[in-house]
């Protein structure tokens, strides 16, 4: 992270709460789902931050809020130094060119009635950048080439493509406006193992070529370690730890990070047989009613009385990592 320069993205104490209402005509708010509840991180230009956690931890909601596809209920989001937290649609429009999304589902996220040319070129049309017909075709051809598809595929429909190719189409569309930031929500989870590697490599090549920054949201810790520079681990709406990818795997500080890493099997039977098989008990509690104090304490093997009372804040360690745990020794 560049200390002096403004980070590409700065998220401070982000909150996204969804109201829970009761009643058909007269709706009363009876509570709220705190999907994201005080999340802070920064992302430098050209950097990849992996966002990991189990279902319901708020990683997707965080991604959507960063793109302002959801309205934050608290905190702030600054993109290229500009506070966009309360921007309306009109003011978001020029910013949207600079930040784009790649979705998980390569089947559901492409309009089956549109030709690939129009899917990939639609952002250009929407932003009035399509120019004349020849330039438009040329630009789409260049985008397809960039993601490893053939220019003559532009006249086909999504159903003619495999899952991996469709994900490439989704990436081409996200790149159409030459963005600085891609929020990628589980972009390789739906793909077969042998295809996943092709798309992971594509992401890494594009980053080098276009100096893109990625907010890479995924549950597969092996993929995230491979692709990220730094990794943020989320649990029940909060970030519990942020560290460089190798530090995080070598020396996880938060008990939840430790549990997550221990749960991931390594494709090596000899190594697996020697690995201590510690399985943490319990499941992620409901976001409707998160535990008091540290949200992880009911499952934490180290928890003390204090953990049930006080919520630990994300604090910086001397080595520049961050962890939210009363007991982590730094």
């Amino acid at each position: 992270m560049a200390e002096a320069a403004v980070p590409l993205l700065r998220v401070r104490d982000l909150k996204v709460h969804f109201p829970l209402t009761r009643g058909a005509f007269i709706q009363r708010q009876i509570g709220s789902v705190k999907a994201v509840d005080g999340v802070s991180f920064e992302l430098a230009r050209g950097e990849t931050l992996g966002l990991v956690g189990e279902s319901g931890c708020g990683k997707t909601t965080t991604g959507l809020a960063v793109l302002r596809m959801l309205a934050p209920t608290g905190g702030s989001i600054a993109f290229e130094g500009e506070d966009i937290t309360r921007h309306d649609a009109a003011r978001m429009r020029p910013i949207r060119r600079r930040m784009q999304m790649v979705y998980q589902d390569p089947y559901g996220s492409l309009n089956p009635r549109m030709k690939v040319r129009d899917i990939v070129g639609e952002p250009l049309v929407v932003h009035g950048l399509d120019g004349d017909a020849a330039r438009y075709r040329e630009r789409v051809a260049a985008l397809l080439d960039m993601v490893g598809l053939l220019p003559d595929m532009a006249d086909r429909y999504p159903h003619e493509f495999s899952g991996g190719q469709r994900q490439r189409i989704g990436i081409a569309r996200a790149l159409a406006l030459d963005p600085r930031l891609l929020v990628c929500d589980e972009p390789v989870s739906a793909l077969d193992v042998s295809i996943q590697a092709q798309v992971v490599n594509l992401f890494m090549d594009l980053q080098k070529r276009l100096s893109l920054a990625y907010l890479f949201i995924a549950h597969d810790l092996s993929v995230v370690r491979h692709i990220s520079d730094r990794i943020a681990v989320m649990y029940l709406g909060r970030i519990v730890e942020i560290a460089g990818r190798d530090e995080l795997y070598r020396d996880p500080l938060h008990p939840y990070t430790k549990a997550l890493l221990a749960a991931v099997p390594i494709p090596d039977p000899v190594l697996e047989a020697a690995r201590p098989q510690q399985v943490i008990a319990g499941e992620v509690p409901s976001v409707l009613n998160p535990p008091r104090g540290c949200r992880f304490h009911p499952r934490c093997p180290m928890a003390e009385a204090r953990c049930a009372q006080e919520e630990p804040q994300l604090r910086k360690t001397p080595s520049g990592r961050s962890v939210a745990c009363h007991l982590a020794t730094v």
């Binding site: 189990e54 590697a197 370690r225 749960a263 991931v264 390594i266 190594l271 399985v279 499941e283 992620v284």
Partner: protein, 328 residues
């Protein structure tokens, strides 16, 4: 091809072929499949979508929807009997009793309008003729075994009142109800979070060990295979392309597809950050399989022969089998 020279295997699949009639033509989902499974052994069947691994699992219990599917040929010898020769009543007597199945999606495989106690108790009641009161008492013990807290009161709960992980525990309890000799688990943890996956697989492994039942674990996750399997069969294009004891397979993968898979997955313990080596191209279209080896179009070592002739699974080493003409 028997691996156990001494005792007869628990399950012996011979030349199994399964096809589906589709508007696009006949899809040969599984072709000339043969493997053995010993009592108490865990065999992982690994492959990508369309490799035929789930169809193999369903065939074992004769659960292939017919039409459009059909078991064309082969034998499935289980405890000395050919399951493909049994009538409907005969196979029903085996399902859930001697062989049980665990599916990927615990929500759609549990009946939403029956209590968990009724569903887990049903095989005990049906196969053992146990009265319902006694069956429910056994269910309580089963639920405790799969670590469902407060089992006694959960007997009367409905599936929607359980989380995904808890539902999969219920599925395991149901599969274990009659202490089967063989459990077939089709991607049992794919829909679950990683910490819950570890819990479920640990329970499954521990319990199969306790009752010495064999387990066929169908998965696409090479990490899960490494942690839990004794032996591995790798499927591609409807066939087993390589089969070996787990340690042997990971240490010396002999089929180019297996080697390709190992090189293409990022590893949690890999700090080198070196570029992944993907397998080029796409998995094959089962309705339009090439005449030779199904992997030949993606294989870097393919010979002329590979494009014309289909290699069969042959012994390459003591317990190591591969279907490949290329030496290596």
């Amino acid at each position: 091809m028997s691996l156990a020279a001494t005792a007869a295997p628990l399950l012996s699949v011979r030349d199994l072929s399964v096809s589906f009639r589709t508007p696009r033509g006949t899809v040969r989902a599984v072709e000339s499949l043969s493997f053995d499974l010993n009592a108490g052994e865990t065999l992982a069947i690994v492959g990508e979508s369309g490799s035929g691994k789930s169809v193999t699992a369903l065939s074992l219990l004769r659960l292939i929807p017919d039409p459009p599917g059909r078991i064309d040929s082969g034998q499935i010898l289980f405890e000395g009997r050919d399951l493909l020769k049994l009538d409907e009543a005969g196979i029903r007597a085996i399902r859930g009793d001697r062989i049980a199945m665990i599916f990927q999606e615990p929500m759609s495989s549990l009946n939403p309008v029956l209590t968990v106690g009724t569903q887990v108790g049903e095989p005990i009641h049906l196969h053992r003729g146990t009265g319902w009161a006694a069956a429910l008492a056994q269910v309580k013990t089963l639920l405790e075994k799969v670590s469902i807290p407060d089992a006694a009161s959960r007997l009367h709960a409905y599936p929607h009142q359980f989380s995904g992980g808890m539902r999969q525990r219920v599925m395991i309890a149901m599969a274990l109800a009659c202490a089967p000799q063989l459990i077939v688990a089709d991607e049992p943890t794919t829909a679950l979070d990683v910490t819950v996956q570890a819990q479920i697989l640990a329970i499954l492994k521990q319990i199969t060990r306790e009752v010495n039942s064999a387990l066929i674990l169908i998965t696409h996750d090479l990490g899960v295979v490494a942690r839990y399997a004794d032996r591995v069969a790798v499927m591609y294009g409807g066939r087993i392309v390589e089969m070996a004891p787990a340690r042997e397979l990971y240490a010396h993968p002999r089929h180019p597809y297996t080697r390709g898979l190992m090189d293409s997955i990022p590893r949690l313990d890999d700090a080198s950050g070196k570029r992944l080596v993907p397998i080029d191209g796409q998995p094959p279209d089962l309705a339009r399989l090439p005449p030779g080896c199904a992997f030949a179009p993606r294989c870097r070592h393919a010979l002329d022969r590979c494009r014309k002739e289909r290699p069969v699974l042959e012994r390459a080493d003591e317990a190591h089998f591969k279907a490949c003409f290329v030496d290596g």
